[in-house]
Symmetry: C2
Subunit: 435 residues, 2 copies
């Protein structure tokens, strides 16, 4: 009797987790490897950044998610190299042989080569980065109340978000709601007219991937709640205290959040991986590597075209690719041919503020309350773990009816604003831990 095949999955994001669960349910031995012991629900990171949700509410221990699956195992380790010829994954501890491999290593912020952006702008792609932004924003307010110089105070109270995609739009709206709903009460001595939230978009409209009608609606809604939206605003330089635009304008700010671009973070790049756009790996339509039919790449790290267009780096693509990679491995085990990937686009949605969102599904677009409700429902549905779903739902309900945010802790104290001499937790150290 032949040995049971063993599948190794690298990365516990949407694609990797879905593939692991599908394979284990089909009684295939599968080992999931990640450097963190939890799965991060990245679409809600911005709610952690504005102290709306606790980090624990959008992160779920991988071992809990796999607990009822007898054929699934988890290893917390850092993958340092993959030896495709000998079919082994080399980690900082063990070396693990595989029969099939699924790479699902996600993406990280891309700073587009703009000077200072990688050093001074704040990315928001991991839980640690989102918590860092939360602590930083709250520290800016704490610092502002003790600041006697009005110019310094304005610097601390100006918040710039670079990137007018869904993440930038959602963060801008949520930040205004944090400030107007809660920080106004926490800081009664502060003149709130000095607080500015600025959203910079390089192209001529927000949410460029959605229909024009939704872009216009989003622009108007954000303006109405006080966000200053600058279109065709291309960043040319970032410094610790300012962001410079190509048109010569300078915005002075201590807080420049970067949501303007992502690039794939492939595991241990080797000459055997064919690089494509944005650091992604070129794969066959079946998601297999061209030269290694037992290796699959899914999610943000895979470059796949459909109808002549590259697929977007979004969670639904990763989930569907995770499912297909698992199915294709099952087919290979049974001696069948793998099938090509075909993305079924169910639509997109973004939230702007309380009671207002935009959504598109097929040829339908809608705005306002229905889109907002749809967004909530979709995100709750995809949140892993019934407990998280319930708690997040209750938190949203409480926030909706009482406007109360529970968690405004500056913890762990990591902002460079808090203590100039303490650089041990500077943003860059945090990033290094994740990437």
């Amino acid at each position: 009797m032949p040995r049971r095949p063993r599948v190794v999955v690298v990365g516990s994001g949407f694609g990797g987790l879905r593939a692991t669960q599908s394979l284990a349910r089909a009684d295939i031995n599968v080992l999931l490897i990640d450097r963190n012991n939890y799965h991060t629900f990245i679409p809600l990171l911005y709610q952690v950044a504005v102290a709306e949700l606790q980090p624990e509410q959008i992160a779920y221990p991988v071992r809990s998610l796999l607990r009822r699956l007898a054929f699934a195992n988890f290893l917390m380790a850092e993958v340092t190299h993959i030896d495709f010829a000998n079919q082994v994954v080399i980690t900082d501890g063990l070396t693990i042989p595989y029969d099939f491999l699924i790479l699902s290593t996600g993406s990280e912020s891309q700073f587009l080569g703009i000077p200072g952006a990688d050093k001074y702008a704040l990315p928001m792609k991991t839980l640690q980065e989102a918590v860092y932004i939360r602590n930083h924003i709250l520290s800016c307010f704490e610092q502002a109340v003790r600041e006697l110089d009005p110019a310094q105070r304005r610097l601390l109270l100006t918040f710039v978000i670079v990137g007018g995609g869904p993440t930038g739009v959602e963060l801008a709206g949520a930040l205004v709601e944090l400030i107007q709903g809660r920080l106004v009460k926490d800081f009664p001595t502060l003149e709130m007219e000095q607080v500015q939230v600025i959203l910079l978009q390089s192209s001529d409209r927000l949410l460029a991937d959605l229909p024009l009608r939704l872009s216009d609606y989003t622009y108007k809604q954000l303006q109405r709640i006080g966000v200053k939206v600058y279109l065709q605003a291309r960043v040319s330089k970032v410094t610790p205290n300012a962001v410079y635009l190509e048109n010569g304008a300078v915005i002075f700010s201590k807080t420049i959040v970067w949501t303007a671009g992502v690039q794939a973070s492939p595991p241990a790049p080797t000459a055997e991986l064919f690089p494509a756009a944005k650091g992604q790996v070129a794969v066959l339509p079946t998601l297999q590597l061209p030269n290694h039919s037992q290796v699959y790449v899914v999610g943000d790290s895979a470059y796949v075209e459909q109808d002549g267009e590259p697929l977007p780096l979004v969670a639904p693509v990763a989930l569907q690719q995770g499912t297909l990679a698992a199915q294709n491995i099952l087919r290979q085990i049974k001696g069948k041919e793998p099938k090509p990937f075909r993305y079924v686009d169910k639509g997109r949605a973004a939230i702007i503020k309380r009671n207002a969102g935009v959504a598109q599904t097929g040829n339908f677009t809608f705005t306002g309350f229905p889109a907002w409700l749809l967004w909530l429902a979709v995100h709750l549905y995809y949140l892993p773990g019934g407990r998280n779903r319930l708690i997040v739902f209750l938190d949203w309900l409480r926030d909706y009816f009482f406007g109360d945010r529970a968690i405004r802790l500056i913890f762990p104290r990591s902002s460079r604003l808090v203590r100039e001499d303490d650089m041990s937790n500077s943003p860059k150290d945090w990033h290094n831990q994740e990437h």
Copy 2:
């Protein structure tokens, strides 16, 4: 008309927070200063360390606690010096004059001069330290599953708690419950017989401040659930991988939690403060400094004797002293004499495990379920903020009926076990941030 008097309170622990609230309710202008923007409910730190509660559940933003008090203000700052002669508090930002001052700066771990203890043992006096211990314990298990050498695995799975007071006892019991209730399921491939929880007590009984009957009960209960309790076990040295006892015994372990002693952490010690035992400040029976009648010291930083015995460093003493300091300042403002402090001891309680605790009030001692229930009620009652109280209660209920712990994230990744090269978040850095 005379200027309204201004009171400055340093430290937002039990004593400082209580004093601030009392003064503000009496329409006195009061400014509370702390280096963190939250109040920590220290008696429940151990539940954070065993992933039973989230950090946010036992920490509460100070600005929320003071929101309805128009006369109370908060400043997040580090106090660097106090100029008693000129009546100003000097912080890392502003310099603040005061008419009355309350010092409530709490305590920190004391390592009793034992070699290596300050460097390799893990204290548990702050939220960051508790989260660090949680991450460390979970990392030990993650590391153990990938460890092939049985001796190394045993090292990772041996957990030593130094100190048999309430904190040590509670942590030992809760750690066993975490392991037996939850980690057994998370790590199905691990041989749980290899896991050891060891409690070291220097004297001949646990909970030495409570009646002997309760000590005996606690000892038996801990033994029954599998904790190895060593009495008269004095630590002589701590290394990264072992704790050495005076009797020559050596226990190999990667995890040595230190609950064996505390000392006051007075703010900016000067020659004008009279030092007493454990770094505390000698004060008059009225809690005033002998040479500065407008300065009060409360809580763990104050050395106060009652009936010839020094008062213990516990929350009820701090709360009662905070109340009295506020009353005495009101008396001084009205031209009356301050009153001496008298501690009303309502009793003590400690929890051992599910359905088992010990409690003493007056001449009554009780054990088991009633003591356990009393402990829960007392801690819920003193937890600040209705929301926290409800959420903690629901979490305890869920844990009681389902044995489920929600939060087993290793986050932020800070354990020296996770990545040897990443020392930016080593335990010592974390401590430096707090102290």
